[in-house]
Amino acid sequence: MSERLAGWTMGEQAVIFQTCSACGHVQYFHRAFCAACGESNPREQRASGKGRVYATSLVCRAATPEARAHVPYNIVLVDCAEGFRMMAHGEDGLAIGDSVIAGFKPFAGKLVPFFAKEK
């Protein structure tokens, strides 16, 4: 199996996704196989970070002391240009359909993807 590219879940400033070499299925959650057809070793790539806002929710009540320090924070689902959806943080006031670009911000002791409106 090819070596795993490190993305933000592993501490790097990158969003990584996978594409199946057999059926072309695109997936965001890392697996050793394609969830659509079962083919092993999907190809890993770094995403452009561009996308469109699918949904938003401004969290005003957090459950842990670490998260509470950041309240309120905007949780967003973004449809990325490469064809997968991801959860991230986003600027306040982002609206569904906005074109956005990913950066990274510290949150509760980790670096997390943070989407801002594309200028």
């Binding site: 879940t9 965001y28 967003v76």
Partner: protein, 378 residues
């Protein structure tokens, strides 16, 4: 064929000093008494889970505690859909001849047994451990995301959602066992503290202590005959990030399968018992199930359609939003109330006709769905 021969429900709210096993036992005893059965006649046990007292073998822990040696027992975990999933399994077990009387039970001291933070944190773990949970979402945030999208696609407003909270509270005010008895208005919901926008405190179900139980039997044990006419499930995803488009969610799939299994149309239904963890959950499910047109459920609330005297009485006990939510037992209260309605025992809440009921449960973030039709037989 299978019958729901007995139901039991505790009040929801604070049960200081009661453990999960205490609340399960209380509900189970009530269900047995209702069915007119002794412990020795129960040969199957299905139970939910307790986030306060997790155990890898909760069904046998309960069986030993309660004093039953069943020939079939295990726990079931499908989040909020667990109660109906257990009922569906019990239905198939008695139909297949595996057991004669299956006790379905759940209970949890979720309010007094742990902090509210602990509850919120435990539940947020339905999110993806690597790709979602580190972002600090909560269950209300997962549903807040869905709500923002649903409102965007179908023109539903926050005021629309508030109507469901107001209705559930009005119903709870007529049930002595409900956690909340103070009437609320749309303005109260709008002014309540923001939790995960667009959801505010009164759009969210509370954390409760409580328990619920039923007995599912091959034959009826008394006069009242409430039969499980047909049921089905659908599971499309676990994590909200991986959820399909709004038009392809599991509720529509499971209700189509249940209608086919039961040979029943939505127009036959006289009473609705629908999962309502948040106002958005109830609004979406009513529309997904065909109990209201797309984007029209709130208008139906306003016109009295879902009230006790309306054409489709809904969650007349107050639902999760106002009767309360003690985990698995929370949505089981919907079935208990449906049973009371179908057997003419709902006192001041009694509806005119509950001859056919539709029940629907949702687990995760609209991830797991169970639809079920119950029918009163003379």
């Amino acid at each position: 064929m299978s019958f729901i021969t007995g139901v039991g429900l505790t009040s929801f709210g604070k049960h200081d000093g009661s453990s999960s096993l205490d609340l399960m036992s209380q509900a189970a005893q009530a269900a047995l008494d209702d069915a007119g059965l002794k412990r020795s006649e129960i040969d199957g046990i299905l139970c939910g889970y307790s986030t306060v007292s997790p155990h890898i073998m909760l069904a046998t822990v309960f069986a030993e505690h309660f004093g039953i040696r069943p020939s079939y027992a295990h726990a079931v975990q499908v989040g909020g859909a667990t109660g109906l999933a257990m009922t569906m399994l019990a239905h198939h077990l008695v139909e297949a001849g595996v057991a004669r009387h299956v006790l379905v039970v759940a209970g949890e001291n979720r309010l007094t047994g742990q902090s509210r933070d602990a509850s919120i944190q435990a539940l947020a773990q339905v999110g993806h451990p690597d790709y979602e949970v580190p972002l600090g979402p909560t269950i209300p945030a997962y549903y807040g995301l869905v709500a923002s999208r649903y409102m965007h696609e179908y023109g539903v407003t926050e005021q629309d959602l508030a109507e469901f909270a107001v209705l559930m509270r009005a119903h709870a005010c007529t049930h002595p066992g409900a956690q909340f008895h103070d009437p609320i208005t749309v303005a109260d919901v709008m002014a309540s503290k923001p939790v995960a926008m667009p959801l505010k405190l009164l759009d969210c179900c509370p954390v409760s202590d409580g328990g619920a139980a039923f007995v599912i039997s091959r034959e009826r044990t008394g006069e009242a005959g409430v039969r499980i006419r047909g049921c089905a499930q659908a599971h499309t995803h676990q994590h909200v990030t991986a959820a399909p488009a709004l038009s392809k969610l599991g509720a529509e799939i499971s209700i189509a399968r249940a209608k086919e299994a039961a040979g029943i149309a939505i127009s036959d239904v006289r009473y609705a018992a629908i999962y309502d963890s948040f106002t958005i959950t109830l609004a979406m499910l009513l529309e997904d199930l065909g109990l209201a047109g797309r984007g029209e459920a709130a208008a139906r609330v306003r016109s009295g359609h879902f009230g006790r005297d309306g054409a489709m009485p809904l969650n007349t006990h107050g639902g999760l939003l106002s009767y309360g939510h003690c985990g698995v037992g929370g949505a089981m209260a919907h079935l208990v109330e449906a049973h009371l309605q179908m057997t003419g025992r709902a006192s001041t809440r009694q509806v005119r006709d509950a001859s056919i009921a539709l029940l629907h449960g949702d687990g995760g973030v609209l991830s797991s769905h169970v639809s079920m039709f119950l029918e009163r037989v003379a």
